[in-house]
């Protein structure tokens, strides 16, 4: 290899920039190695957690510094990407902890499970930091391929296999659409770097490039589950193992948004109206869909669709927002609040499901407040946060997003959005009513074992939801 190139690539800056990714990737390799030596199985958990901790530590090193570009500018690390990385680490940790003792029939494959989870997390980090269509594609596939396998991880269960298959076929389809979009964009502009698009912005106006952009947008919309690309979400979320659903709901969406934000400058400014319309339709479709659900995971899946729509509204306002970085901050904060809220909610469902041995329905939650006051209180808090009640993180996220829309003079869209989100309170409240105001479900089994780790995680999520709601000052001051 040319020593010049080697020197350029293997520098301290590169190491700093790609630290979180390297930590996760290294963790994956060590875990694969440990799979070969059954005697060392006890080390697995330590390696997994150590790898996450190392990634978090590496991310905090670039949290406040200037932007570092690596690999010829195809990958960057700045404050925003570091925050995203921390969020992905949190998301993976939540999913992993709630997944402990969940897989009874598949216990002997738990090592594989951890490897896949860590690989997916590394893909997310790569997606958030990429400034180039190829690096993003690598990240996208590094995230998606393990998730296909994880969705079908409970191989003895028909619904899990079905979810894995559906996710795979549609995910591969979306990946193919993305690649075609990238190809057309490349053919239209001659570059695949975001910086290159900025330099040759006049070339973005050609039909070829516009079609490419539209295809890329379509595939990203698929990942963040926007109407009409959201149809897979309820089926896959419901069928996939609950810890995996937790991870998908929080992490995948975040990773796709993390790239969509820097990419969106390439979208023509007049697309703002279209994006806002899609956002509102998505909110309506998600909330109305959730209104008629009885299965909790399915309900939260539809609610996740609605939340994706809300965040998209910030994206729509990004161009016209006089406050630069406002939309990015709003989405990041919203996603952080959503990660802890939805992560905690799905996690609690995982706990209840493991103990009951069957899917959790709204009826199945009746009278939970008397049998398990702690679980019910936490779940109620998460529902209130999802509904956007003040003093929770969910409220502030909504507030920031709607502020972006208002600043961008999209007041009508903001008002409609707020009204649609009132509909959502209907079903969140239904859950609280079931837990607190209805007679108990006598058939619900009493938990045989305590799960201190999961309980602690739920408590941590609840604390984060409140901290983000009550003391967001620090985050708002430091997240740009």
């Amino acid at each position: 290899m040319n020593p010049d190139i080697a020197q350029r690539i293997l520098s301290q800056a590169t190491l700093d920039a790609s630290g979180p990714f390297l930590a996760l990737a290294l963790g994956v390799l060590v875990l694969v190695f440990l799979e070969l030596l059954p005697a060392l199985a006890a080390l697995r958990q330590i390696v997994f957690l150590g790898s996450l901790a190392a990634a978090a530590w590496a991310a905090t090193r670039t949290l406040f510094g200037p932007e570092i570009a690596a690999f010829e500018g195809t990958y960057v690390a700045n404050s925003t990407t570091s925050w995203w990385a921390l969020l992905f680490v949190a998301s993976a940790l939540i999913a992993w902890i709630f997944g402990r003792r969940y897989y009874r029939d598949e216990a002997r494959f738990e090592g594989e499970h951890d490897i896949l989870l860590l690989t997916a997390a590394s893909g997310m980090v790569l997606m958030a930091g990429s400034r180039d269509l190829l690096v993003f594609f690598v990240g996208l596939e590094t995230l998606s391929v393990p998730l296909y396998a994880l969705s079908g991880f409970r191989r003895a269960r028909r619904e899990s296999v079905e979810a894995g298959l559906k996710y795979f076929v549609l995910g591969a389809f979306a990946a193919a659409i993305y690649l075609m979009g990238a190809a057309l964009l490349y053919a239209g502009t001659g570059t695949i770097a975001l910086a290159g698009f900025q330099e040759r912005s006049e070339l973005l106006e050609t039909p070829l490039a516009l079609t490419g952009l539209a295809l890329i947008a379509a595939s990203l919309f698929f990942k963040i589950s926007v109407f009409p690309f959201h149809l897979w979400v309820p089926d896959v979320y419901q069928g996939a193992p609950s810890p995996v659903t937790t991870f998908m709901a929080t992490g995948t969406k975040a990773a796709a948004f993390a790239f969509l934000l820097p990419l969106s400058f390439a979208l023509p400014p007049e697309s703002a109206g279209l994006v806002a319309a899609i956002a509102l339709i998505t909110m309506a479709a998600g909330n109305l869909g959730a209104l008629v659900q009885t299965d909790m995971k399915r309900l939260l899946a539809y609610s996740g669709v609605a939340h994706a729509g809300t965040m998209l509204l910030a994206l729509a306002g990004m161009h016209a927002d006089p406050e630069s970085g406002g939309a990015s901050q709003a989405v990041l904060f919203y996603m952080a609040a959503y990660t802890f809220t939805a992560g905690g909610a799905f996690g609690l469902l995982t706990m209840l499901e493991t103990q009951g041995g069957r899917p959790v329905t709204i009826d199945g939650l009746r009278g939970l407040a008397r049998q398990r006051p702690g679980v019910a209180a936490a779940l109620a808090l998460f529902m209130l946060s999802l509904g956007g009640i003040p003093a929770t993180g969910g409220f502030l996220g909504k507030y920031l997003v709607f502020s972006v829309a208002v600043r961008a003079d999209m007041i009508a869209a903001a008002v409609v959005g707020v009204l649609i989100s009132v509909v959502a309170l209907g079903y969140y409240l239904r859950i609280i009513v079931a837990m607190y105001m209805q007679p108990e479900d006598a058939t619900r089994p009493v938990p045989a074992e305590s799960r201190p780790l999961s309980s602690a995680m739920a408590l941590a999520c609840a604390a984060m939801v409140l901290v983000l709601g009550v003391l967001p000052g620090w985050f708002l001051a430091n997240v740009r």
């Binding site: 998606s144 191989r155 296999v161 389809f173 193919a176 690649l179 190809a183 490349y186």
Partner: protein
């Protein structure tokens, strides 16, 4: 072959892939259609790199490698479907809905 023709061919391939994906029932056939779509994009990459330079060749290489991994996992899932449901008709695996 001119660049226009290449892109036209790729578009045609892509469309055939999409059409196949929408009409085929068998999981393996759908997988093949996705492959067709992916290769259509690879064709554009390679063709454009030959005409105008740029990183197209590398792109195609990366895309090939990644999609191989994807297809491997996909086939595993299809195999699992066959074991669990006794067939590989994707449409028949549609118990979750509403």
């Amino acid at each position: 072959m001119t660049l226009e023709n290449c892109i036209l061919l790729a578009t045609l391939l892509f469309a055939i892939g999409v059409y196949g994906l929408l009409t085929r029932r068998q999981a393996v056939a759908m997988l093949l259609c996705v492959e067709l779509m992916l290769n259509a994009s690879n064709l554009v990459f390679v063709a454009f790199a030959r005409h105008a330079g740029g990183p197209g060749q590398i792109l195609a290489m990366f895309a090939l490698a990644i999609t191989v991994a994807e297809v491997a996992v996909g086939l595993a899932i299809v195999l699992l479907l066959y074991r669990r449901h006794g067939h590989t008709a994707v449409d028949a695996a549609s118990e979750a809905r509403e």
